[in-house]
């Protein structure tokens, strides 16, 4: 996982130093003298840089770039530009957007947490009376072991759902089913990830995100505009043709592109949160009531089934 804190500043600083042509450790030390934010990074990077290790390995070792970005840095013919592009792709995608994309897992965890809290409260308040009733209690009630079993069960269900989503995401065509909920958020998230992938020159990831974003956007554009867009050779030029990728002096302005995509994503997440936020609170509450009422509901169910 990439350490996003200060990643942008460090990569920008390294780009500046690489552009000046001086040794990276010395240049970074010079910049750190005037910028306290760079000081901790200087302490971490300087020994490896001074030892002459390849830059991509140093950056990867200190989690400043991802695995798929190592090859990009290694093969770069214009290191300052590459580092600036990587720096532009630094801001992390908001957690709420990711939670909305993984909504089934989020719902499972929310329901599960509510149930666990409710059953824990019931166990603390009434374990002995429940045992005195001498009934088969639902999972999670009656003992700590049962409660822990419920924790494992909920975690297993959440993990299974996440695994199913990952498996579905790998199947072309079928993965579109994962875009059915909160499509506006999915669209904006795909664009935010696409812009980041293009900025950091991760072609495979960019193609994947382009396909998702184009699928979720294509019916918004007239036939001629869609065809004209797809006629462009690559995703970068297609986005520029649509005006989604701002240009500065003829070249893409990656920082503005990431900021604009993030602003769209924030708007979409805000709008979706008006429904999903209260829904999650409702799930938490319902889970809590289920946890508290579990044994009683079991009895009522049996009453209903037995007559």
């Amino acid at each position: 996982m990439i350490d996003r804190r200060g990643r942008g500043e460090v990569l920008h600083a390294l780009a500046l130093v690489a552009g000046d042509g001086e040794p990276l450790d010395r240049g970074l030390a010079g910049l750190a003298a005037g910028d306290p934010l760079l000081e901790p990074w200087l302490r971490r990077l300087a020994p490896d840089l001074a030892a002459g290790r390849p830059l991509e390995q140093v950056l990867r070792r200190h989690r400043l770039i991802g695995r798929d970005e190592v090859a990009v840095v290694a093969a770069s013919t214009d290191l300052p530009a590459t580092l600036r592009r990587l720096a532009a792709a630094s801001p992390a995608v908001p957690l709420r957007a990711r939670a909305l994309r993984w909504l089934p897992v989020t719902l499972t965890v929310t329901l599960g947490v509510g149930t666990l809290v409710g059953s824990a409260l019931l166990n603390l308040a009434a374990t002995q009376p429940m045992h005195d009733l001498n009934i088969r209690l639902p999972v999670g009630h009656g003992s700590t072991g049962s409660w822990l079993a419920l924790v494992v069960l909920i975690a297993a269900v959440a993990a299974a759902l996440a695994g199913s989503m990952v498996a579905l995401d790998a199947i072309p065509g079928v993965r579109r089913l994962l875009h059915l909920w909160c499509p506006e958020v999915q669209r904006s998230l795909a664009l935010a990830e696409l812009v980041r992938a293009l900025a950091s020159q991760r072609r495979a990831a960019a193609l994947r995100h382009w396909r998702t974003w184009w699928f979720l956007t294509r019916w918004r554009l007239p036939y001629q505009l869609r065809n004209a867009t797809v006629a462009e050779p690559d995703a970068e030029q297609r986005l520029a043709a649509l005006g989604v990728l701002p240009l500065r002096h003829g070249a893409p302005d990656w920082e503005a592109a990431v900021a604009t995509a993030d602003a769209r994503l924030a708007g979409a997440v805000g709008a979706a949160s008006m429904l999903i936020g209260p829904l999650l609170w409702g799930c938490l509450l319902c889970g809590f009531f289920y946890g508290v009422m579990g044994p009683l509901l079991t009895i009522v169910e049996q009453l209903n089934g037995g007559f």
Binding site: T108, N134, V157, P183, L221, L279, G282
Partner: protein, 348 residues
């Protein structure tokens, strides 16, 4: 009620009806969790599809205020940066739902063949008629007036953001809670009724009342009408005062740019050529530009204050209103449960 539970469970254990194996319990829990998540997810997807399908028909006359603001913002930015408005509209179209994305692209094409921006936007129902009239007046005045018109069109009414931030979460929570209560009323209450019928036990009066109401078609119609009224109110609130504010912005920017009172009156179609008369015709009480600016600032402040009061009142009143159906349902279900257990004890 809790005193009856041991007796009840003894009976059920004697019958062997409560001794299901642990593995079955685990299976039931997993199935319950997965099916609940599936139902909720299905509900979210269904809501999105329903909204996407209904939205063009609900807003067939004119686009929702948010769409107009989105388009106006894109055009205002393009004008400010000296870019082609057609390109800005095509870029904005990507962020718009169907059919307004197509409408935005149509406007871009219409601009290329020489149609004026306000007319093109009006014809594709992206702005209201009164807003388009102000836009035409802005074009006639020229200078910074079109930019001001677009900026005003892109701006939320005063207090709107505060009201949305304060009201929307409460309203959404209330809707979700009403949905849950409706679900309980439609699916759970009849089950209790059935149990009471099978055991020949009279349900609580509150349960009978709730069952009667949920069975009645008039209550469903009332709910639908209430929802539509709420939607209309939300949309109308987004448009309120737009014409008045846009006109004031136009007058202020035109006078600052040096336009004469006659030109402004002619552009706005007002008979009285004096500035006071123009302001009066547009809904403002002001004799000169400074007075108009003061009135606009006071109006904005009043809007913010109103929104703060409304948001606070809603945050207090809505949960209290919601407590009533919650209390009624709890009384109905628990009251019926107590009657069932008493009857079982009497029978046993």
């Amino acid at each position: 009620m809790l005193d009856l539970l041991p007796i009840l469970c003894q009976q059920l254990n004697a019958d062997g009806t409560l001794s299901s194996p642990q593995a079955r319990q685990i299976g039931i829990t997993v199935k319950g969790l997965v099916s609940t998540v599936g139902i909720i997810l299905g509900g979210v997807i269904a809501l999105h599809i329903l909204w996407a399908a209904l939205r063009p028909f609900l807003f067939w006359q004119v686009a929702p205020p948010g769409i107009t603001r989105w388009v106006a913002r894109a055009l205002a930015e393009a004008l400010r940066q000296g870019r082609d408005p057609g390109e800005a509209l095509r870029t904005a179209a990507i962020g718009l739902p169907v059919p307004w994305s197509y409408a935005a692209c149509d406007v871009a094409e219409a601009l290329q063949v020489g149609e004026t921006l306000p007319d093109a936007l009006l014809r594709r129902s992206l702005v209201r008629r009164d807003a388009a009239r102000i836009g035409s007046a802005a074009l006639r005045l020229g200078g910074g007036a079109p930019q001001r018109w677009l900026d005003d069109l892109a701006t939320l009414p005063p207090g709107h953001q505060r009201l949305r931030d304060g009201l929307a979460p409460v309203a959404a929570s209330a809707l979700i809670a009403l949905g849950i209560l409706g679900f309980i009323g439609i699916f759970i209450v009849p089950q209790f009724e059935q149990i009471c019928r099978d055991l020949a036990v009279a349900p609580s009066p509150t349960l009978i009342a709730i069952a009667t109401i949920s069975d009645s078609p008039w209550s469903k119609l009332a709910l639908v009408l209430l929802a539509l009224a709420g939607l209309w109110l939300a949309v109308a609130w987004g448009w309120r005062g737009l014409h008045r504010r846009s006109a004031a912005g136009l007058i202020a920017s035109a006078t600052a740019a040096g336009a004469s009172e006659g030109e402004i009156a002619s552009a706005l179609g007002v008979a009285d050529g004096s500035l006071a008369g123009i302001c009066r015709a547009c809904g403002w009480r002001a004799d000169d530009r400074d007075g108009l600016l003061r009135a606009m600032a006071a109006d904005t402040e009043a809007g913010e204050r109103r929104a703060a009061v409304l948001a606070t009142a809603a945050r207090i009143v809505l949960p209290l209103l919601l407590a009533v159906p919650v209390w009624l349902l709890a009384d109905a279900i628990f009251g019926t449960l107590v009657r069932l257990l008493v009857a079982l004890e009497a029978a046993g």
